[in-house]
């Protein structure tokens, strides 16, 4: 049986792993080239490295950091942040990434998704989608660009449908409202997206406890769940988390 994946996210700023709340107030959490293999050894199913300042500061993803992080990492490795063209995608893949995550640039030019998919296959294209509620009174979610700084006016289900049609292999869905809060994943949002497309959904934003992971797999119908803070600051370990998920009936890779 295909297992549910637990993905460790390394948000990288100026070469260091950092983590904020609601995409701001950053705290230092370590060196990506040390953290990634350590997480892999302790049971993370995948690693995602997001260069969180790349798009805003208009600079390329830190290829050298990607290369160092990938060097002794033998689980799937996704890199995102500042991927604006097929050449940018090729550079991170050549440096050792297995998949690229595209976000703002794909919103600006959705053809980028198909270009990367044609060159490297759909399995190499993760479309990252950051969403917020349109307003308190409206239950719909709007897609935001540039690390949650820019509204797009696009509704989430319309955008993920388009991304799938253009060749996305996975959707990384982040609730900005929940990001870094530890209040739990937005299961309603995750499930609405998971049933709307046929590609796997990675849920992100809000992980704070083991119960939250159980909920996002069972109620949220997520195929994978991503978290950062709960692992960086030792609130949870992969082994502890996976043992409890297994007890709750969620299929996981454990022992691995």
């Amino acid at each position: 049986m295909l297992t549910k994946r637990i993905i460790a996210c390394l948000d990288v700023d100026a070469g260091r792993v950092v983590k904020g709340v609601h995409f701001a107030d950053l705290r230092d959490a370590g060196d990506p080239a040390e953290l990634a293999p350590a997480y892999s050894r302790s049971g993370a199913d995948e690693i995602i490295l997001l260069d969180i300042s790349a798009t805003n500061q208009e600079r390329s993803t830190l290829i050298e950091i990607v290369r160092k992080t990938a060097q002794h990492l033998f689980v799937p490795f996704t890199v995102g942040g500042g991927i604006r063209s097929l050449d940018d995608a090729a550079a991170v893949i050549d440096a050792g990434a297995d998949k690229v995550a595209v976000n703002s640039a794909a919103l600006k030019d959705p053809a980028l998704i198909s270009q990367i998919a044609r060159r490297y296959g759909s399995q190499a294209v993760v479309v990252a989608v950051d969403v917020k509620l349109f307003s308190e009174s409206c239950a719909k979610h709007e897609v935001w660009a540039c690390g949650g700084r820019q509204r797009t006016g696009k509704e989430v289900l319309a955008w993920v449908g388009e991304a799938e049609d253009r060749g996305a292999g996975e959707i990384l869905l982040t609730s900005i409202d929940r990001d870094g809060t530890g209040d739990g994943f937005d299961c309603e949002l995750t499930s609405s997206v998971a049933v709307a497309v046929r590609i796997p959904i990675i849920a992100s934003g809000g992980a704070g406890s083991t119960r939250h992971f159980v909920q996002v797999f069972q109620e949220g119908k997520a195929d994978a769940a991503l978290a950062a803070s709960v692992f960086h600051y030792g609130i949870n370990t992969f082994s502890g988390l996976k043992q409890e998920l297994a007890v709750a009936g969620v299929p996981v890779r454990w022992p691995c």
């Binding site: 295909l2 892999s40 033998f74 050792g96 490297y120 759909s122 292999g169 994978a224 691995c256």
Partner: protein, 196 residues
Amino acid sequence: MIAILDYDAGNLTSVKKALDYLGSPCVVTSNLREVERADKVVLPGVGHFSATSNIEARGLRTVVRQAISRKIPLLGICLGMQWMFDSSEEAPGIVGLALLRGQCQRFSDQVKVPHVGWNRLQVRDSGRLFRNIPSGTFMYFTHSYWAPVIEFTTAECEYGSTFSAAIERGTLFGVQFHPEKSGDPGLMLLRNFCEL
């Protein structure tokens, strides 16, 4: 020296990195002479079956066939394993190596596609590749098409249907999963191949 065939089908870096880590001398190449001199060949590949037409275009089909007749161990990974079959629904006009009978098919609408993530192997026959890798071991898969179970299947996997996760026929080896991305068990499998 292990030749990792470069036919423009996705990420070759990760296979090279894993073999480097294991201390096995290897080279990423599409140079025919270099492939002829190799004592093992790895045929990696992710992406669309049509990419395998580059194997033909670069004249690599003949050297691969020669390698097999000289009993040089050949390991196909993912698309590389699918190419060893007759054909794939993904690109019906393209002929595979056709040393294994059958056509690769797309996963049904009953499951999410691609099949991405860690799934368990049912090892039918440990053969030479699965030394120290027990049945039930998890490996990392990412693919939208699957190869049928045949008499040379050594490990099966289940996702919507039961498909070939690994095959072994003489010196011809194939794995649908990515050993270079499957943590320690994946490295063990590559080590078994290197030590053949």
